[in-house]
Amino acid sequence: MLDPRRLPAPPGPFRREAWRSPLRGPWLTSVLGSVLLSGLTVIVLTGFASHVAYQPELGANNLGRTPGFLDFYVFGWPTRPSWLYAATQGLHVTVGIVTLPILLAKLWSVIPKLFEWPPVRSLAHGLERASLALLVGSALFEFATGILNVQLLYPWKFSFLSAHYYGAWIFVAALAFHLVVKLPVVARALRHRSLRDELRIDLAHTRPETEDDARAATGPTTEPSVTVPVAPAAATLSRRGLLVLVGSGSLALLLATAGQAVGGPLRRLALLAPHDRKTGSGPNGFQVNKSSTSAAIDPRSTGRSWRLELRAGARRRRLSRADLLALPQHTYDLPIACVEGWSTTQRWSGVRLRDLAALIGAGEGDAVLVESLQRGGSFRRATLGARQIADPRSLLALRVNGADLSLDHGFPARVIVPALPGVHCTKWVARMTFGAA
């Protein structure tokens, strides 16, 4: 009987001699993989932190999803330090972008495996390859959707939030298996050739990794890696040079991006980032990501006739902007931190949420559903927990930097809560309903 595993490899990339780079091999892959893993760890942890920060366990915040067992909530999101979400989400987006070159270099280093022949050696090998397809597919899916989302380009029909979140679970599952299989290989490869020695080797002395190197890395029980070239071309770049090249790609992305999360004078350096500059001059000239136009706010509904409706149980109260300004005013410097990874700290003034809760006689431990004048869109309303209401810096802001809020920044009144994602700091507030979450 013809054994398909004995069939000769078809021509082209299925033949090992087609892969000629002298730099590929388990050592290089191990170095790139280790750096990639540290970046991915930050991205995954801050990503799940963002899920927790959205507090999907509260009232309106789950956006209509039926919670399954992947929608875990291990802890309530804190309000201290106030820059917490600005830091975690700034890291998520910035490290995500900076890690992309490392991901691409890592994939480049192992791409001969995509065409390895025979495609399946055993059941274990076939299943591992299926798992790798999930790993690479979910990784590229997560990077692509994340990078497009921060530029407000959504060329898909699914909900970004759900897809990016559940896609992350697939990625984590496939990565965990990959680590179980590969961490011993990485450890052996890095022991076999020390990083410090390798970084001293210049172009003239750069030699391909050999089958012996591969065998030393994979150990006695597994087939050695097919990434080692069997017919290597002469080196045109040292391994050190390749790592510098990848690093400079990451550095360029860092410089062109990080300023929108760090703020201050660095923001001007973020030449390609979407929130690199102010929208105008004056106290309301700072960045906005949902203008009154995109939220379809009718300016007439924010005029003299506007009232804030407070509700708790059967109690109702309607307050005009003058009524709110007559209440005790408090001022705090707090960041607006967006899920898209940029933030800006401004000086907000207004009424404490806990004063409003007391005014309507809300119960201890109540949550509050905040609804906007905005008619459509997932984030026209948000639920804040008891912890958010209790923080003295949580405000229904009426003014910013000493001036009335502009319409784009939420006039007549907006929520500002320390460490809360920007989309949950509802603008153009129309109604606040206190009660159990």
């Binding site: 992309l100 274990a124 591992e128 999930l134 699914f158 559940y166 965990a176 400079s248 906005v288 995109s294």
Partner: protein, 147 residues
């Protein structure tokens, strides 16, 4: 144990870890394919992302690298890395920020942020120009030293 290795092709730890990983991934996949009920669209993006990388982006960069490798050597100094560095950095910046550079989300972005996307293309071109100019300068210095 040896029978497992012979029939299956790996040890029991690999099998256990694989089953656990597939179970969790399946849970994620079932929720993902459910996301916003656009099942086919999600699948398209998952598979499309792999195809875009493995069969478009990778062959394209490999081809570019092969072309760069043919760049003539002047006075024995190869030009290839003086091309690789600016092309790679400029290309990476484009790969990440092309929606802004090309203004693909122009209307939504400008309405939401009150900012214009017009600045990004000139900025990217300027960065690219500076990178190539710096690289050319360094190459000229190398040639002078070699000459």
């Amino acid at each position: 144990m040896n029978a497992l290795r012979r029939l299956y092709g790996a040890g029991p730890l690999q099998l256990l870890a694989l089953v656990a990983s597939f179970a969790l991934a399946a849970a994620g996949l079932s929720r993902l394919l459910d996301a916003g009920t656009a099942t086919r669209n999600v699948a398209l993006w998952l598979i499309g992302a792999v195809i875009a990388h493995d069969l478009v982006l990778f062959p394209l960069t490999a081809l570019l690298d092969r072309i760069a490798g043919r760049a003539p050597r002047a006075r024995g100094v190869p030009a290839v890395n003086y091309l690789r560095v600016p092309v790679l950095i400029s290309g990476l910046l484009f790969l990440v920020w092309f929606p802004l550079i090309l203004g693909l989300s122009q209307r939504r972005y400008e309405t939401a942020t009150r900012l214009s996307t017009d600045v990004y293309l000139p900025r990217w071109l300027a960065i690219t120009g500076v990178l190539f100019a710096a690289s050319a300068l360094l190459y000229a210095v190398r040639l002078r030293r070699a000459g």
